[in-house]
Symmetry: C2
């Protein structure tokens, strides 16, 4: 008897949120694809992009590492950052992707090769073969240029009114095809304006999402981020994504309901941020509520500065929520059964 084809899950993003989603999902028998932003311009990625004219490698590298079934050494190597000399600040994986693009003289071929060399479970697909700059127009009408500048504001500033890409990059046909063929499309968690939206902005992407038969999921962030989502509640995430994803609807919103300790919440307030409040009850939105926090959250030390990674999604819980919310609960049950059997 032939096995049925694997369910196709497409994850849109590129940052640490996407890394968490991919890390969780890769343990299930799925046909996975990560569609990655090409607007990153910070740090090592920005330097390589500027100096060598390559696609920004940072987000692509993170997704490749998340899905790599290669060994630990190769993954450590890819994440290694040089701390001395002329290579200081550069990430080995970024240099690898840049060299591969130069050797192949084509970014898409290079990334296909990287998928192969790293024995990636699934596919990592840049949303376009060309880099683009991300711009944010703020509520006070000033315009901020560059994903890095938007992501890491040097000082307090007005809220983001809207974002756009320039030059408008042509979509990578393989990305559009993967979106079109998907059974599930996962948006978030992660930096809303600098990770998810730069993908939705690429011409053709939202139409492909709209035309797909996929269940379209939005995973709401756990906390706000200065300069991007301060003051946001869960409904703001839903509304902003719905606006940028137009004409594609968001079918289901996944929200965490586990409450961290008061001390943790307080740490975020001290740092000018806050937990995202779930205000989705009573609205005509399909919401999937579950506990998604990672268990190993470090207890903050009173007086210490907030570490960004204090609150994190648990990859396993997140993957289970995605599968259950998109009608694939049998994958979770099957996996639980296998775990039980292997423990006998």
């Amino acid at each position: 008897m032939q096995n049925p084809p694997l369910k196709k899950v497409v994850v849109l993003g590129g940052g640490t949120g996407t890394f968490t989603v991919l890390s969780g999902l890769k343990n299930y028998p799925l046909d996975l694809a990560a569609i990655v932003s090409i607007a990153d311009d910070g740090g090592s990625t920005g330097i390589l992009r500027d100096e060598l004219g390559v696609l920004p490698p940072g987000d692509i590298r993170q997704c490749l590492v998340a899905l790599s079934s290669g060994d630990r050494v190769l993954r450590d190597l890819f994440n290694y950052r040089f701390t001395q000399g002329g290579l200081e600040g550069h990430n080995f994986g970024n240099i690898f992707l840049s060299a591969l693009e130069k050797v192949n003289n084509d970014p898409l071929t290079a990334i296909k090769e990287a998928n192969r060399i790293l024995n990636v479970k699934g596919r990592v697909i840049p949303v376009s073969a060309r880099a683009a700059d991300l711009y944010a127009e703020l509520e006070d009408s000033t315009v901020v240029k560059g994903q890095h500048a938007i992501d890491k504001p040097a000082c307090e500033r007005a809220q983001i009114r809207h974002c756009f890409l320039s030059p408008m990059p042509e979509a990578n046909p393989e990305a559009l095809q993967a979106i079109h063929d998907a059974d599930v499309i996962v948006m978030g968690p992660g930096d809303l304006y600098t990770s998810l939206i730069p993908i939705l902005l690429v011409q053709g992407v939202t139409n492909a999402i709209a035309q797909s038969r996929a269940e379209r999921l939005l995973i709401v962030n756990l906390t706000s981020k200065r300069g991007q989502t301060q003051g946001y509640k869960a409904s703001d995430f839903y509304n902003v994504v719905t606006k940028y994803a137009w004409p594609a609807p968001v079918d289901t919103v996944i929200v965490n309901v586990a409450q961290p300790s008061e001390l943790v919440a307080q740490k975020y307030i001290e740092a000018g941020d806050h937990l995202i409040e779930d205000d989705l009850d009573g609205q005509s939105i399909k919401v999937w509520k579950c506990e998604l926090l990672a268990d190993d959250i470090a207890n903050p030390v009173p007086g210490d500065r907030l570490k960004r990674s204090l609150l994190r999604h648990d990859p396993q819980k997140l993957a289970e929520a995605i599968l259950k919310a998109s009608g694939m609960a049998e994958y979770v049950i099957q996996s639980d059964l296998e775990r039980l059997t292997s423990n006998v």
Copy 2:
């Protein structure tokens, strides 16, 4: 019936000559090991060595690429040299080895990992786990420091009187063991004072060669090299290697007897170099004479400057000469038979 153990062939060197030997030998069913110098300090290699404190990666990379059974993309990638920006002049393979050493926090583990990742046919073994500086005392008693300075003299200068390493590096036990266990030890071709001799200078190496049951071969270079072997004949190569290899003898000398065209010879003269004359007849040295030139030598254009690679050893011919000269002619016959059979 159990197969007999593979014959163990150890190649000493590191530069392009060693690359040629390894490229030829890897097509035979042999247990191959390349013992590589750790005194290189030129270009990208020198910068990485200085800035990051890693073993000089250049020669190691070349040998890894020669023996890699990985695909062409990986080999092209390893040899890729960045031509722009802050990475300009750096070779990707050098950066790879440096990052791997940093991640593993140990050069020998790192190179073992590189052997594995590149699926190397055989082993590439650094002669020591510590880098060293090569010094040359010239006939006019001046001392030149650094392999690169010795290799690429800025102007005319006196002949080399003798070379030494400082600090004296401890030998890598795996290198000594490989030499000790060898059936054949291949010295040369390649840069005499900057590729072969820095290996012989490491404490313990020549004793291991002397104690080995191996057939010890010296392959004489095709041409002289400014600053190293100007004026040398075949017997000079033999005498210098015999001096540095002491107490190990050289058992057999392999010399090319194919004559290039007058025009090619003239090109070398114009560049201040010359073909190496075979003056070994009538001396009590076991000599293996055969045609070793690569067939695809470019015809030099009159008036054009000499390209270093004009005359090269043919990897296949060189491998056959090594096997025949060390009593393994049956490998060549077997390989010829297989070629004939596969062509039927």
